[in-house]
């Protein structure tokens, strides 16, 4: 009787076996490339890897939520470009303040997340298809908003380029990868949300057994929608990171970003149902 109630969790399983292995692989890769290529050890190489990682990492954090519910969000890649183009267009072409442009980008990302959530949770469309459609829609919208042209957010040194400092700030000639700090903070924050708040708890519950979650009297539709809103919002944050790191945003791109982010999340241990 008492056998099953004795929990003998090893350290590795407590850390989450797969997460532990992934961390080891990353460290291993860094050591390998560092040993093989002298360039790799350079600070600039490291910085550019970080630059490329921010937007993927942000999308991966967000898409974890739909993945846990047993769904997926394929719209985040093209969505990112769409939000970036829209915000950028307003800033560059319409002379809006940068903060307002960012706000519009984020607002749009939440709206698309809301749309995804409604399609999946209220209209019961398969998540894969629903977000495949919003993927196409955001791709079209982005091009239409920007009139088909690439958009460059204010470059470093020009007024309004302050947002680029969010991710990389130059102090006494040394570039400091602030973005890394934000991503880390957001990882910790969202891990907390996932494990210790209602939104996270019910996200896991929906993924475990949706029917049972409904029977527990939980407003499943709301929390199911929230998972997609979070995913959308993080794609919005990723859009800001993307705009800040790269000089130009091209319409028609972005397809495939979502796959990298989802791949990252799955390799990190989220099971894709």
């Amino acid at each position: 009787m008492g056998k099953s109630s004795v929990s003998n969790k090893s350290l590795v399983s407590k850390l989450g076996g797969q997460k532990f292995i992934v961390l080891l692989v990353v460290i291993g890769l860094i050591i390998f490339f560092g040993a093989v290529s002298p360039d790799f050890r350079k600070y600039t190489t490291f910085m550019s890897i970080l630059d490329y990682s921010y937007y993927i990492a942000l999308m991966a954090i967000g898409v974890t939520f739909p993945l846990i519910t047993g769904g997926v969000d394929l719209s985040i890649g093209t969505g990112l470009i769409c939000y970036s183009l829209t915000g950028g267009y307003l800033i560059v072409q319409k002379g809006w303040p940068v903060a307002a442009g960012i706000a519009v980008s984020l607002l749009l990302s939440i709206l698309i997340g809301l749309l995804n959530g409604t399609l999946v949770a209220v209209m019961n469309l398969p998540p894969f298809l629903a977000t495949l459609c919003t993927c196409m829609i955001t791709r079209g919208l982005g091009s239409i908003f920007s009139k088909g042209f690439g958009i460059s957010w204010p470059t470093s040194g020009t007024p309004g380029s302050w947002f680029r400092n969010i991710f990389k700030i130059t102090v006494n000639g040394t570039k400091i990868p602030l973005g890394f700090l934000w991503v880390l903070l957001l990882v910790v924050l969202m891990a907390f949300v996932l494990n210790h708040t209602k939104i996270g708890r019910y996200t896991i519950a929906i993924g475990s057994n949706k029917e049972a979650t409904i029977l527990s009297g939980i407003n499943v539709k709301f929390y199911h929608i929230m998972a997609y809103v979070i995913s959308g919002f993080f794609a919005g944050l990723a859009a800001i990171a993307y705009s800040a790191v790269f000089s130009t945003v091209q319409p028609g791109t972005g397809a495939g970003f979502e796959l990298e982010a989802i791949g990252g999340a799955i390799i990190g241990g989220v099971s894709a149902a």
Binding site: S4, K198, G207, G217
Partner: protein, 498 residues
Amino acid sequence: MGEVILTMKEIDKSFPGVHALDHVSFEVRKGEVHALMGENGAGKSTLMKVLTGIYKKDSGTISYEGKEVEFHNTREAQDAGIVIVHQELNMLRHLTVAQNIFIGREFKKGFAIDDKKMNEEAKKLFDKLHIDIDPTETMSNLTVGKQQMCEIAKAISHKAKVIIFDEPSAALTETEIEELFKIIKDLRKQELGIVYISHRMDEIKVITDRVTVMRDGTYVGTLITEKCTKDDIINMMVGRVIYEDPKQHSMVAPGAPVVLKVEHLNAGKMVQDVSFELHRGEILGFSGLMGAGRTETARAIFGADPIESGDIYVNGKKVIINSPEDAVKCGIGYLSEDRKRYGIVVQKTVAENSTMAALEKYMKGLFINKKEEKKVTEEYVKSLATKTPSVEQLVVNLSGGNQQKVVIAKWLVRDCEILIFDEPTRGIDVGAKNEIYKLMNKLAEEGKSIIMISSEMTEILRMSDRIVVMCEGKKTGEVSIEEASQEAIMNMATREIG
């Protein structure tokens, strides 16, 4: 028995094409265990779903604690004190025990959920019910029995006044059922009203005070359990008496050849050094508690899970089985305990399912000979008395018993000589059960050899010619039907735990 706490009067409910409940009445008193019986589809679950607000009734009244009520969802019913412990366990596998119990009403500390307090409360609850479960354990690590205990604890924590048990014992072992009964008796003492839905006659006699029987969506009658016999209840349920006596002696011809011999089979923790023989025309019962390693043994023999060591002989020849493909080539067929997951392909037709394992026989060159396929399926539909409008019907639309027959047909079409039946009658109603029994006897008579895994003692004693008992992955005994008794088997099934 105390005063009436819940009355359902003249409840009527129709679904498109089905009159599910036809003016059904039902009442529960404080401190009674009231059995609700009937065959599958009689309307028991529908009635309970109407009560707890999952379905909206068409007409009739529900009064609870003297007031007329109508719940719009389970949450409202729960808040009022009516809780249902579901047939299909409603567990959230990835969450812990405590997180499951308090789902939807978590304790909070600011924004965060207070898991520590939840664990403490859950522990208190378990102590009160004398249940030994670690609240921080992940739900998927618990046995079905323990999961059920958690469901009950959850119901109690809702300050329930009426608890509905929907087939609680279907997946429990005998000891777990005893524990469950202890808890139910405890609840009865605390003046709770308990509704107990079950197919199992023996339990009804042991645990309930009154029995209400339903048939085809109508109310048939209510009896005082003490004053009625098993046959009375069965008669009300199906209108015919069902033979349920143990088999007296083995039907296997003396000197029948050994068709399957398993020697020192090892496959993981659940299969340790298992050896046995199966004779032609024999029904070999595999008894034991849930988790005794019977299914694991069957899966290992069938090649569904890898074998670590041990030898398997079919008709005296040593065979190597690495996959179900190999096993089927040796003439072994396996009916899984979990039909929906491992037995049938629900979106395919009866014909397509029936020929699944033997499609080679029905090929015309590159193409499937659908005419032949249909013909052979129709033959088996007839000989097994499968109830289906046509062989083109999707299997998903058949009832459990008939789905089981389709799986049996699959192996018969393949000409399998050795059939492993894993809990062949789980979730099947009384009438259909009987048909499966008849069918197994017929197959054995025709010279097929059957291994029957069953957790129901009556089933084991009624069907087997010989009985192998397992406990915690080891074979702990073997008796012929002549020597077998419930006590002897139970003894062997618990030997390792000791």
